[in-house]
Symmetry: C2
Subunit: 336 residues, 2 copies
């Protein structure tokens, strides 16, 4: 790899001049500018970003930490895709790093990004606790935004969906259509998201004065296979249900598959929510779909805040206030 020094020699100027040409900062005559570009071309020169970042102590990168156990399904893809697009718009690069499978490793991933001198960090946590994250935010210079959690000390550093509310709305919608026996497939119960969605379902039943039957609640692990197994279990145990809520799209797909396989006809009139832009399944309610728009909203908000912190120093007080509201509304819209 040729260096700036070599380009300078070829062009008959100094390193500083080459640097000026490249950065566009400072005055350079048109003549030497051309010479320099020619030399760059001839040498096949590419700047060393490590050196540049070291010198400027900014990497123009935004790091993102996600556990690889979450690298599956359309939910993650959506998050990553939205994040990449927004970061791209801001002229920066998104770097994704694996949070692996423990709180300790999630912490290490964050430290790795800090060691790389990333300008900011997006944390989509799986193992770290609220308190852990509050501490980390406190101890870190770089802006950190947390997705999908509610922080205690630094609420403005987090954006989240109202999972409980959306599950509540979903269950309510079914109840209003006359369903009384509503089965529920939850995600892994060690996940806060799963717990909140389950709570929303229970709350809806409670408000409608419908007894909560433990048999109607089956735990899955977010995958299509688990959705299918859950339905199989319900059927095998002769659990009666006229409607079903799955806690995410992937399990909904598996459940749908198992239902049709079992020869169950699915009524057409109960198509409530969408999977991508199509109604997924009569009779089947992928709760996650109801937060699909909010997901993109969350990510956009996260990155907007990060960037305003990077560019304009601190977050505006207003910003912290408004976004939660917006997200809540969009959840409500999607579910209604």
């Amino acid at each position: 790899m040729s260096t700036m020094q070599e380009v300078a020699k070829k062009a008959g100027v100094s390193k500083a001049t080459v640097s000026r040409v490249l950065s566009g900062k400072g005055y350079v005559s048109e003549a030497t500018r051309k010479q320099v570009f020619a030399a760059i071309e001839a040498a096949g020169y590419r700047p060393n970003l490590l050196a540049r970042n070291l010198a400027t102590s900014t990497s123009q990168c935004i790091g993102m930490v996600v556990t690889n156990t979450l690298y599956s399904g359309s939910y993650f893809s959506e998050i990553l895709s939205q994040a990449a697009k927004k970061v791209e718009e801001s002229g920066r690069q998104l770097i994704l790093v694996d949070g692996k499978h423990s709180a300790q490793q999630e912490r290490e991933a964050i430290e790795f990004l800090l060691d790389l001198r990333c300008d900011a960090i997006i944390l989509y946590p799986r193992f770290l606790t609220i308190d852990d994250m509050d501490d980390i935010i406190e101890q870190t210079r770089q802006p950190i935004m947390v997705v999908n959690r509610r922080l205690r000390k630094h609420p403005s550093h987090a954006v989240f969906c109202d999972h409980k509310g959306s599950a509540f709305n979903a269950a309510m919608a079914l109840i209003e259509r006359g369903h009384q026996k509503i089965a529920f497939i939850t995600g892994s119960l060690d996940s806060p998201t799963a717990q909140e969605r389950l709570a929303g379902y229970k709350e809806a039943l409670r408000q409608a004065a419908i007894a909560i039957e433990p048999q109607r609640i089956v735990e899955g692990k977010w995958t299509p296979a688990c959705g299918a197994k859950a339905v199989a279990a319900l059927l095998a145990n002769n659990v009666a249900f006229s409607a079903l809520i799955a806690s995410n799209d992937d399990m909904a797909v598996g459940a749908l598959k198992q239902l049709t396989q079992a020869g169950l006809r699915v009524p057409n009139d109960v198509s409530l929510l969408g999977f991508d832009d199509i109604p997924v399944a009569p009779f089947l309610l992928p709760a996650l779909s109801s937060v699909k728009d909010p997901v993109t909203g969350m990510i956009h908000e996260v990155i907007n805040r990060l960037i305003s912190m990077l560019d304009g120093g601190d977050m505006t007080p207003q910003q912290a206030f408004i976004s939660e509201l917006v997200l809540r509304e969009s959840v409500a819209d999607a579910a209604s």
Copy 2:
């Protein structure tokens, strides 16, 4: 952020000694080692990876370029997940950057990684042509491996699945079960993968002396929505078919949904291939599932080669030969 210099001062030693302690290289007395660790702790010191990488001219990172238009569906997640795990095993970090939406931008993403002095690059291309990639490989010092393409000049730098063969096998399996009217939902026809799968389907019909009906072939754009639309179109046009092949899982899901919605009973005995580990759909054949194992195989092979190039210099000639064979076989297995 405190620097090594500050730690050195705190510990009453020189930078060099601190560096030795951290790297474990060179001789340091146990006493000073302890002092240094204490100072590190006290200062809350973290090494600056930019500086380290600049000095060693190695980043311990492997870069990966993927267009964000491919950041969707379980296929991408699977690739990323496998890649992250393998790279992690090798003690390196995987950095994902966006190839955006043109050949030019894919090229720029590669250059960005080179500028970061990544040790190696994984390219999962969408827009670059074979010739482009052959050129880039030629002009670049760092090892580059291409996923899912067949290169001309540097075949050992690419690993691919036999898409045509797997689609052929899928169609053949249906034909052997007595189906004559097999509909086919292709992916975007500007994608080589889609073209190859379509070719496999056609080849199978040809060998079975079944006429190819253009009406039975519908183009989608890889999403569930498109799968649903495709089925709706087939039904609306009264196209007769007793079996259906979708070119990927996502479209298969949409198709399944539309079929059940239309009240079509799906026979139980034609469950051929799996979606994750469950049979997806009677009567529905998600071709992509048939290459799910090969996908993980591809990625593993890609990273193995990269690492052996990094550690052991060049690839073994043997390696280039064997892997293609392995992949072909696993495709055949999955489809049989």
